[in-house]
Amino acid sequence: MNLSRRDFLRLVAVLGASYVLSKYKLDVIKVFAQAKDYIHICWLNGAACTGCSVSLAQAADPDLLEVLMSITTYTSGLPIALPDWMYVVHPASGTLAVEFINDWIKNETAGPKILVIEGAMQEEGYCETGGRDFRDWVIDAAGAADYIVAFGSCSSFGGIPHAKGNPTGAMGVQEFLEEVGMSDKAKGVINLPRCPGHPDSLILTLASLIQGVVPELDRYNRPLAFYGKNIHDEQCPFRAFYDKGIFADYGESEVGCRFKIGCKGPVTWADCPTIKWNDRTAFCIEVGAPCIGCSEPEWPDGDYAPFFKELTQVPTLLGYPAETWGTAFLGATALGVAVHFARSKLSGRKESESESKSEEVSG
């Protein structure tokens, strides 16, 4: 198959990232070989835990070294092409490191310049690197970037640091760029949330961008290829338990839907159940845990907190407790209605967000 630039990520959307990677890995590698330069990636860490970098190191097929030796090298002829800067793996520190970042910002390159950001943006004074506030680095780097990828929930939407109370004014890159008047750049930010970011989602997004194709995005600028499907409604292997009204309690991982222990699958859109994690080993629900909804803009608050508290709005929307759901509404219509309500609630949440937050704080 000739993996063309036309509908690369559409293919991912249809077949699932996991399938595409395993089936078309060579083609994925081939599409990078179209220019005369290596891929210039600048990877900056803000208010991060470094978990997204560690997550990239868990990429299995292709793995991190394959990416660096086959993909980012492009047609440069280099044996290996490191990102121009990436905190966690880079040989250089100090003066040379700052020079590399500045070179990336200043220099014209033949290939696209891709800025990957890990970690949240904050108010001034909470994160400093190379003698400058992190905000200033991002402003300069975003200005120079052809593409901006926010990898992980922190750089996408603020993530954990923007949890209720948010002492450092944490926010996602897109919101930050809007705030500093770089709206055109903000519009183009591609968000790859989840905590941590999923390595395959990053590799496939880079593959697409290098071809000059911006993936089709949802209203939160997440590629539909990875975030187009609801976990509970469209993908969860434990879904049948829900339909039959069989619910797992704490410490009973193999039997039952996790809804009653707080699973946020019904209000979460991500491909975890199919792509899984760590070389397709498992995902949260599979080990008896609830989905905590880490791909969603409001996470870790709103509907997603507390993590172990049963979601209230899905059953109450129709007025029936979760136990009777399966038996009372075996048909998909009722479920579809519920999902519809959940979706519209999500989309309408922006306006009421600050209101409900202040309520919860005082309560």
């Binding site: 560690v54 004074g125 400093e128």
Partner: protein, 574 residues
């Protein structure tokens, strides 16, 4: 006296810089050595603030996100703090699952430190024969065929396999989701157990055979380094002589047994039988841990309040205009003294000064010979920390197969319960003490009206990288850098490599400058006197601690703020 800084420092977790005043030492051929050092950590998120008011169980999923390199220790430490608060002792299978998951996690963590984080510097020191496999695969596939970066590449694969085991039980790595007060959410199925066993055999082989051989090679190459320093400095200075502290080492212990969990493990003054013991090692021997002796000083921190408060009583009243303060981290002390934490502290408290660790293949029974090491510098050093990390990982790699066997036995007996489920208490407090790879980790939670009312994390990043304390004593990290033997050569990396092994520097130069000509200046930093100095050894000291600084949850150095730090024997102004 001239000074230089390194900002940012790559290949560590978090945002750290070092600022060093250097001075010539006439007895050592008039070469530069670090005289004074400060190591500000430059990022703050505020976990202890935004966790207050939440469901206590949220801590299980919040605290791992303090650090994505060492998330699992936060998972288990918060789980143990909540076990304590919920009065829910985990059943035996849950204890074993926790041990297996944490063990697998450790195998990843210690390995990536050696190969991915500190390895590039060590590889240069180890030379063309021993060092080439340690280096990153800078020459690509062709280079790999010639042996450049082979162990590095293998480590990338092996750490992934170890983390697949973490994901088998935890759902994903980083940031597992299977912990719960009173146990775990995941069941011990035979499928999970057999997959665990299958994945960990190649990990054991890599550790016990390849990694330990690399460590033995490093110890041998260190003698070569001393031959060179003898010429250049006029004294045999090796990696065991650089970066020492005061000889105090603190460990909280980890990996309990199921049969004496209550009698030995839950009493933190015992922890005699866990895989790694708790204890305070000073004056050359281990003393029982007294968790009441943990305090935090704030003299140089931007907080109002008192020095010397225990984490149960610790208050966090920020005051960024506090005179004399220079950091937002508190300075943890044990019994009022400075203590280093980390793998060396674990090994000293558990095995003393001489270690003998068997290498018997868990499946075939083949004996690869004991790994034997006697601590070179009882006050710690680059070499001792690196070797201690490898010794820890070998101890754990051996032990995890016993945990797997024990779990199989429990499953056969039908003792598969993994949860002692208790409701969220209305009012309670609890603490968890464990060893993160980088050292002693403790969480202290108070619950009020079913919500978190107080959460304090005293983390390795603050034990090792906290600021000066109430008696103006530097923490272990700064102290190690200014211990007097941190050589700051004027020779660059290439020249040093050539001095160590004829032509080795030229090989490195060719590989590096092909990637970018500017790599010729690797680690060269300008001093304020206009000279260029080589920060490699200072960075080795920093990385020997494996700094993990996102953990410094309350750490901040405000930007655009200058300060003068006065010490009794000099002035370090930045």
């Amino acid at each position: 006296m001239p000074s230089f800084k390194v900002d940012p420092i790559s290949r560590i977790e978090g945002h750290l810089k070092i600022e060093c005043v250097i001075d010539r030492v006439p007895e050592l051929n008039n070469e530069y050595f670090v005289k004074e050092c400060r190591a500000p950590v430059t990022m703050f998120r505020g976990f202890e603030i935004f966790m207050v008011g939440r469901d206590p169980r949220d801590a299980l999923l919040f605290t791992p996100r303090i650090c994505g390199v060492c998330p699992n220790p936060h998972s288990i430490t918060s789980a143990m703090a909540l076990d304590d608060a919920f009065d829910a002792m985990p059943p035996p299978a849950a204890i074993l699952i926790r041990n297996i998951e944490e063990a697998a996690y450790y195998l990843y963590d210690h390995l990536i430190h050696f190969y991915l984080l500190i390895g590039p510097e060590l590889g240069v020191i180890m030379g063309p024969e021993y060092g080439a496999p340690i280096l990153p695969p800078v020459a690509g596939r062709e280079g790999l065929e010639k042996g450049i970066g082979t162990h590095y590449a293998k480590c990338v694969e092996i750490q992934r396999r170890a983390n697949e085991v973490v994901a088998l039980w935890g759902g994903k790595f980083p940031h597992v989701t299977n912990y719960y007060p009173g146990g775990v959410l995941v069941e011990p199925t035979l499928e999970r157990i057999s997959k665990t066993l299958a994945a960990l055999v190649p990990v054991w082989e890599f550790i016990a055979i390849t990694h330990i051989q690399d460590i033995l090679n490093l110890i041998e190459a260190n003698e070569r380094l001393k031959d060179v320093t003898e010429v250049v400095l006029g004294a045999r200075v090796g990696l065991e002589d650089i970066g020492f502290g005061n000889g105090n080492f603190l460990s909280f212990g980890m990996m309990p047994n199921i049969d004496d969990y209550e009698s030995d493990w839950l009493d933190t003054s015992k922890r005699n039988n866990s895989l790694f013991r708790a204890g305070a090692f000073y004056d050359g021997s281990r003393h029982p841990l007294d968790e009441n002796k943990i305090t935090e000083d704030i003299k140089y921190s931007f907080y109002d309040g008192e020095d010397g408060l225990h984490p149960w009583d610790g208050v966090t009243i920020p005051n960024k205009d506090k005179p004399g303060a220079y950091s937002w981290t508190k300075a943890p002390r044990y019994n009022g003294e400075v203590f280093e934490v980390g793998p060396l502290a674990r090994m000293l408290n558990t095995f003393g000064m001489e270690w003998r660790i068997p290498r018997i293949h868990p499946i075939t029974g083949e004996d690869y010979g004991d790994f034997v090491y006697r601590v070179r510098n009882p006050k710690g050093s680059i070499l001792d920390r690196v070797v201690a990390r490898a010794a820890c990982v070998l101890v754990i790699a051996n032990k995890v197969f016993e945990y797997i066997n024990e779990l199989v036995s429990l499953v056969k007996e039908g003792r598969t319960e993994v949860m002692n489920n208790k409701p969220v208490p209305r009012e309670a407090k609890g603490r968890g003490l464990w060893e993160a790879p980088r050292g002693a980790l403790s969480h202290w939670v108070k619950i009020s009206d079913y919500k978190i009312s107080h959460y304090q994390c005293v983390v390795p990043g603050t034990w090792n990288w906290g600021p000066r304390d109430s008696r103006d004593r530097p923490g272990p990290g700064e102290a190690a850098l200014q211990c007097g033997t941190t050589w700051v050569p004027r020779l660059n990396v290439i020249e040093i490599a050539n001095a160590l092994y004829d032509g080795w520097g030229d090989i490195l130069a060719e590989a590096l400058t092909r990637l970018n000509p500017k790599y010729a200046n690797l680690n060269m930093e300008p001093t304020d006197g206009g000279e260029y100095v080589n920060a490699t050894i200072a960075l080795l000291v920093v990385r020997s601690f494996d700094p993990c600084l996102a953990c410094g949850v309350h750490i901040i150095t405000p930007s655009k703020k200058t300060y003068v730090f006065e010490v009794s024997h000099g002035l370090c102004s930045v």
